[in-house]
Symmetry: C2
Subunit: 279 residues, 2 copies
């Protein structure tokens, strides 16, 4: 067979093996078939198998012992353990203590139609557009694209946005932030984002869209954020409420917040609570 790596086939082999491990068909401690056997089973080159095994090892799912074989690791979470890193309801603003942000681009542009619509811009009206990447000591974990109406954007400079949280700059301009509405989904990394987040093209990412409004309900910021799921996840606690038969859940407010719904059963503080999400 050719010695060229076949990325799509490699991904397929990776996903098949990942699911076998997740499903228990390959339990902890099990030795995977050898590379030649896997190559024959999947009809691919050995180098393709090797790439799939490398990916599994990188995920912490298997251990490769040179000259011995590849073994399933125990105690691994599947899907890959997402860090108890960010609380969706924690401080969206007081960032930066343990994370670093890098401003990739800053300018004014007419945003794509759905963003313009969400921000209630006039046809052809420009917005302040910024792209930032946020990283910990482990590397990059989020790719943030923000749009802010130009009248607000003009109150801060590129240098200020490079060093201060956007929400702080918005409030400095005199805005009183009211609510935010957000939606969480998933997408694949395109070439540009893949390079910045140091993942392969087509890698899975958490996709978040958030619209921040002032106290009068006027939109003041549109955020589109992409997160590496191996370095970031949304953690939340819920509590069953309502009369029996009602069967409803309500969110629990993070420790340290001002819990208007305090009920004596607040969330335990996490040692990582100081690490914040947001923009």
């Amino acid at each position: 067979m050719s010695a060229a790596v076949e990325p799509f086939k490699s991904r397929r082999v990776y996903l098949v093996l990942r699911d076998r491990i997740a499903g228990g068909a390959l339990p902890a401690g099990a030795r995977l078939p050898g590379e030649p056997d896997l190559a024959a089973e999947h009809g691919v080159a050995r180098v393709t198998v090797r790439r799939a095994l490398d990916q599994l090892a990188q995920d912490g799912l298997v251990e490769r012992r040179p000259g011995v074989g590849t073994f399933v690791l125990g105690g691994t979470a599947l899907p890959p353990a997402t860090a108890d890193f960010a609380d969706v309801f924690t401080h969206l603003k007081e960032m930066g203590r343990r994370t670093e942000v890098r401003l990739l681009s800053f300018g004014y542009a007419v945003p794509p139609p759905p963003v313009a619509q969400a921000l209630e811009l006039l046809p052809g009206e420009a917005a302040q557009r910024a792209v930032r990447v946020r990283r910990t000591a482990d590397g990059p974990f989020s790719y943030l694209t923000t749009h802010v109406p130009a009248r607000i954007g003009q109150t801060y400079s590129e240098a200020e946005l490079a060093s201060q949280p956007l929400l702080a700059l918005l409030e400095r301009s005199g805005l009183r932030i009211g609510r935010a509405r957000q939606s969480i989904g998933a997408t694949l990394a395109g070439p540009d984002v893949a390079e910045v987040l140091e993942v392969g093209i087509g890698a899975p990412l958490i996709a978040l869209t958030r619209l921040v409004q002032d106290e009068a309900g006027r939109p003041v910021e549109h955020l589109h954020a992409l997160y590496r799921p191996d370095r970031f996840s949304f953690e939340m606690q819920m509590q069953r409420t309502g009369a029996e038969g009602e069967r409803r859940w309500s969110p629990m407010v993070p420790a340290g917040a001002e819990p208007a719904n305090a009920n004596g059963t607040g969330r335990e503080p996490s040692p990582r609570d100081e690490e914040r999400t947001g923009s």
Copy 2:
């Protein structure tokens, strides 16, 4: 060039074009380059370009006019508009009015180590394991794998789980459900899940892991759920709270719930509120 489709290359072309549309380099109404030009630009076969364009059309990002060309559609949300379908804090239980569930498997098995650990099982202890798929009239949207300690699982039958929400069966057994803790991430569809959810292998999926506890804090259910992001998303509203300078957000309780944190600014009810998530 060969007429064989090159799936990895096709995905790459798709992601490049998707990002150009999202970034505004290809604005609404723009005509994409012709298939031969795109094929030459990316060094791929025309059939590969065609597949990428089909995927863009399926996402609602472009319109293909036979004999004329391919045009960027306006008003499309990017990433693909996720339905305002489920509220993460709404009724996790009263399912089934507008969605249907199908039980794919039911049995007892020793769960993978992270699940066994979360459920506090003894080494080698089995759990009731079920795989279900949930669908609307549009098709499948979630793939749910649940593990329940065997002593609780034995209180319901396969037929009951095929027709009733798991949470209802848990409560019928006498359990008093307390809290749930969940984590939201992203992953790629493996072959089995891809077939059930009717997506391509390697498609992006929202991954949720939830641990449900009784009022005494004992784990009673472990849920691993995979969602198609084009049919499902997590929607939430947050409100800025705390003194100025504190810069914190707290969740807003969905309309209809018993809002212990009622503050007169509850979330507007959505027309889709009756459609529920959960297991």
